[in-house]
Amino acid sequence: MTTSPPTQETILRAHAEHQFAEELAALAEVDTRTRPPNWKLSPWATAKYLLGGKLDNGFEVSPKYIGRQRLVEIAIATLATDRALLLLGVPGTAKTWMSEHLAAAISGDSTLLIQGTAGTSEEAIRYGWNYAFLLSKGPSMEALVPSPLMNAMAQGKLARVEELTRMPAEVQDTLITVLSEKVLPIPELGAEVQAQKGFNVIATANDRDKGVNDLSSALKRRFNTVVLPLPDTADEEVDIVQRRVADLGRALELPAEAPALDEVRRVVTIFRELRGGVTEDGKTKVKSPSSTLSTAEAISVVSSGLALAAHFGSGRLTARDLAAGIAGAIVKDPVQDKVVWLEYLETVVKDREGWQDIYQACMAVSG
């Protein structure tokens, strides 16, 4: 999964292409394979950039995405076939991270970005007008304010659309013409912008959250979909949670001790078991609640437990500090989820060795 890179001196967060400029240059140097038109690296070198590894000349490329190699390969192959790429997954699965690095490696530019929100308008996707200019000089290309998408088309680069499903459905569909015809018409000027080779779109979306607008089938068909999974192993997830919680704790300057590995592991175990529908030993099945229970939520449960422990508790994270947070994350639907959660407590947690404290703490807040 993702790792937060160290930041440059003054900028809080540098663009990927600047931060990893050295690696990109080193890869370009040894990259002798064919590059699709307007690509800065070959597909092979792009995969190397994302997955990391040692180059022939001994240069070490750091891994950007730790996870399944096959998914990265599908994503790159998709972009090479001029089909748009849709990265799908629950929050905290490194969708944005991957899209930024793909754009940085392939176009050398990860800034052509449209952020999808409920308020995103068509202008944000197509173009707007500089009204002062428009009034004084009349409609012309100069008066036009191009969107990042339009710029990407003109320059043959990758455009990124973040949180595609948060946009209203009719705004989403603006993309259809661009994706199928590779043309953005400007009827006001009787002109159009034709996409240069190398142009493509990477969109990220979240299909399980509440408050999203489903993609129309017409739009869906124009994307190749890659589903980014949650971490494969418990250790991987525990590692991510612990690292992020430590970061957050430092930022909030909590006086509590860093969380004990055991507590983090229990939270991650509960989340994984409920999410996966089966206990970690593979012996007992459990129902899954309606909430997504992503790694990101596990992080917030642990850090809020940490805040509780710091301000109201002993300063050490205990089961009591975690219980309310865990129940809150799991029971999103007061009827269905509650049954699932109580069942889980009674049939799994109750009899698990060394889990009595967490069982009692959770029953106290939920039972």
Partner: protein, 764 residues
Amino acid sequence: MAIHIFGIRHHGPGSARSLARALDALKPDAVLVEGPPDADPVIPLLGCREMQPPVALLVYVPDTPRLAAYYPFAAFSPEWQAIDYSLASGAAVRFMDLPQAHQLAVRKLAEEEAAKQEAAPPAPGNGKPPEAPAPAELRGDPLALLAQAAGYSDGERWWEHMVEQRRDSAELFDAILEMMTALRTELGFEPENPFEAMREAHMRKTIRAAQKDGFERIAVVCGAWHAPALVEAAWPAAKADNAVLKGAPKIKVETTWVPWTHGRLSRASGYGAGIESPGWYHHLFTVEDQIVVRWMARVAHLLREEDLDASAAQVIDAVRLADALAALRDRPLPGLDELNEATQAVMCFGNPLPMRLIYEKLIVGEALGAVPDATPKVPLQRDLEAQQRSLRMKPDASQSEQQLDLRTPMHLARSHLLHRLGLLGIPWGKRKRVEGSKQGTFWEWWDLQWHPEFAVRVIEANMWGNTVFDAASAYAQDAANRAGALPELTGLLDKALLADLPDAASHVMQRVKDQAALSTDTGHLMDALPPLANILRYGNVRKTDAAMVEEIVDGLVARVCIGLPGACASLDDDAAEAMFKRLVTFHQAVTTLQNEDYTKEWRRTLTGMMDQSGLHGLVAGRATRLLMDAGAIDAGEAARRMGLALARAADPPQAAAWVEGFLRGSGLILLHDDDLWAVLDDWITGITDETFQVLLPLLRRTFSTFPPAERRQMGERVRRGKPAARATRAVPRSGRATRFEGERADKVLGVLGLLLGVGEDDED
């Protein structure tokens, strides 16, 4: 007298195609195939028109059909192609592996040895006999080692890629031979395993015999691993081979063909490991060109049949993505991995569910083979006949009756046989209920009638196993995997226990456990408890299973207690009726279990339900009654509850339902249980005349369900008034109560005391 060695991969479509081409070029006059020589007599059947692959060669020991080996063949099996070629061209064809007569004999000895060891010390654990040395796969897949060296994740993919592009087939086999020689030398492999050494010695022996018979061009088709051992230059002396083979144990075996399926090809068999993707192999073998495009077209077709979106444009895009992926991975052609990934990304929008469909229908496939009528009898048939003889049950087309006393071993065995056949869909006997004296649980009554079509079903059932026991066990396990709902599974569990199939029973229990965890239908969960409770309390299951049942019951009770209040909210009359029955049976089951934790939890749930608003009267009434009977609430509390339920604020139909729920089926009990009578009496006497008139129709509705005789007795009891013990405490009322003549009643008490055996002191 040239010998040509063709090292192949079992079920490898590339091998099959190359082999067919190579044989065409070579025109051998004898073909030797790795396979059991015991089956040589049935090879010609393969030429029959009715023979449709996939089929399997079955070699078994007639008196213990459990000992058997299967050799499945699909159209894309190189062995099948080799035999097919020989039958068509008139070349001699022989199997050359170590005969199963020896292999099975070795297995039998090993099993007997294990049984002996088990008999001597007290059986250690589950004591399964150690597997006899199974062929090739013991070492793992030798091709996987080569594939790893070439940077592939598994041997099959590597082989696919390496074989697919070959057109110069003869050189391919030379290359394989060289490769395997290198591999065997590198690993320092000398067949130290005596079993392997015997197999290769027998192969060489068969080749020598063919040479002696004067064949000119001998084609030898064997697993690639064995190829180096069969090269003439590397042969040890004939004497050495004979010495290896000397003294091998032998047993009488029979062979036949049985129909097979692509699904079963993916399982382990006489050739060792099964193959993952028979359907894909079949595609590779049958399609001449445009493998990728044709595959994608089939995928799209399947998706459309299932009403899923799949346009031609998507097929084009999927093919392009698969090609791009193959290029990125430096592969000449997209393999199944690339095709699946492209299908999922383009056609399924990243959704893995349709991929499962594609896996079942296309990648594995549903092809079912057929065998000609002339095929020899199957072992299941023999096993059944043997059992019919030993149990003295002659199959008869006319109907006859059997009473089985399960306390005698012979009758118990008969019952097991009938139950097992019933599971396999061969209803030779039908259970019937009989009124009369012989009704105990150890009596079973059956109507027996043998229908001719059962013979066909026996042949069909043979695919599940070679004995009735094995087949029924395997079938029950398969049925458990397919069954979706809990009631189906608990029913199956019951059958498996009746048929005495311990393995199947524990498998079904595992499924019940899984399903219980996932089931959202509390009703189903409640239905599952009574049979399990019976097993736990009275059943004769193995110790390990009892522990599992306990675990399941634990989970069931906990889940029902949590889910029941929710499941009882907003029931209509029909649903409430069903829930009423479930409540009663579940309560009985909990009572049977006599477990304090369960009882406590169950009472807590019922108590909660009494206060639940919006609960159907029938259910609420029964919950109150169950608690009262269990002593969790006293009679006064029950009367208070009844008053609340029948208060004028309550909806009349619901109030009636409450009374019905409280009293249903209790006419006699009402008569003889003072407490219950008191509850009703306290309540009725406590309400005003006006209210009584309003409620009368509702009460009548419940009381009209009691038989007339009971109602009459109730009336008499009312006329007699309150029982003496209570009369003193009763609120004095005008009218009837004063008419109670205590003196006359006291006269009876003396006699009654004698009858009941209590002292007269207790009378007050």
